[in-house]
Assembly symmetry: C2
Homo-oligomer: 132 residues x 2
């Protein structure tokens, strides 16, 4: 297991991220880091963002595992993605409908028609395999 060593760049990246409430992209972080370290590379930014995310010090808000997914079921419904195995499953629940309503109340004006939710976690199958 890798022993962590101090790095100015990593420290700055974390500090930069901590100071904002928006959710910057890697490239945005990179552009801002360049003002402190003119020679910093995008690769370094990506590596440190990954590392910090693995350590649990930041969150990576990623897509559905690289490529987008497509779904022919157009009745409103939500999805669950297992962050371990990558499977994407449909979800139906009245609690989610409540959530969507409250989200809509905050961000829109009570209409929930086109609001969707996506959940991320670990599925039973992966938990089972984990206990080996």
């Amino acid at each position: 297991m890798a022993t962590l060593k101090y790095s100015r760049q990593r420290e700055s990246i974390k500090e930069f991220l901590t100071g904002r409430t928006d959710h910057p992209t890697a490239d945005f972080v990179y552009e801002n880091m360049k003002q402190i370290y003119p020679n910093i590379s995008l690769g370094t930014v990506y590596r440190n963002l990954s590392l910090l995310a693995d350590l649990g010090e930041i969150q990576k808000l990623s897509s559905f595992g690289g490529a987008d997914r497509f779904d022919a079921r157009t009745v409103p419904h939500c999805h669950f993605m297992c962050t371990r195995c990558g499977r994407v499953m449909d979800v139906f629940s009245e609690h989610i409908d409540k959530s969507l309503e409250s989200i809509a109340a905050d961000f829109k004006d009570g209409q929930i028609s086109d609001y969707k939710a996506r959940f991320f976690g670990i599925c039973k199958e992966c938990l089972k395999e984990e206990s080996h």
Copy 2:
């Protein structure tokens, strides 16, 4: 506005997607389409998937608008992304906590610690601009 013309390829793509309950990637659709149309191109698949999604005949389960986002706030919380302007905002709500519990009950075993949700819709600001 473009008038839609019939296309075998588009028809097949939609039919293929309708016949599955998993959530294929564009590349997977492409690989399968090649068995019917050996010369079909990935560009055609992408164009038709986009088109079908615009028509509302399929759903695109996309990422946070291309690039991943990073967030230094590690206390469990959820996100809302405006599908119009791309802004990503934090969300706190007890309804969501209920949703996460029921999701966890279905997909895991009652522990909600690392379950996250993401919501997609249109924000107030964009709705306001729309009414012009």
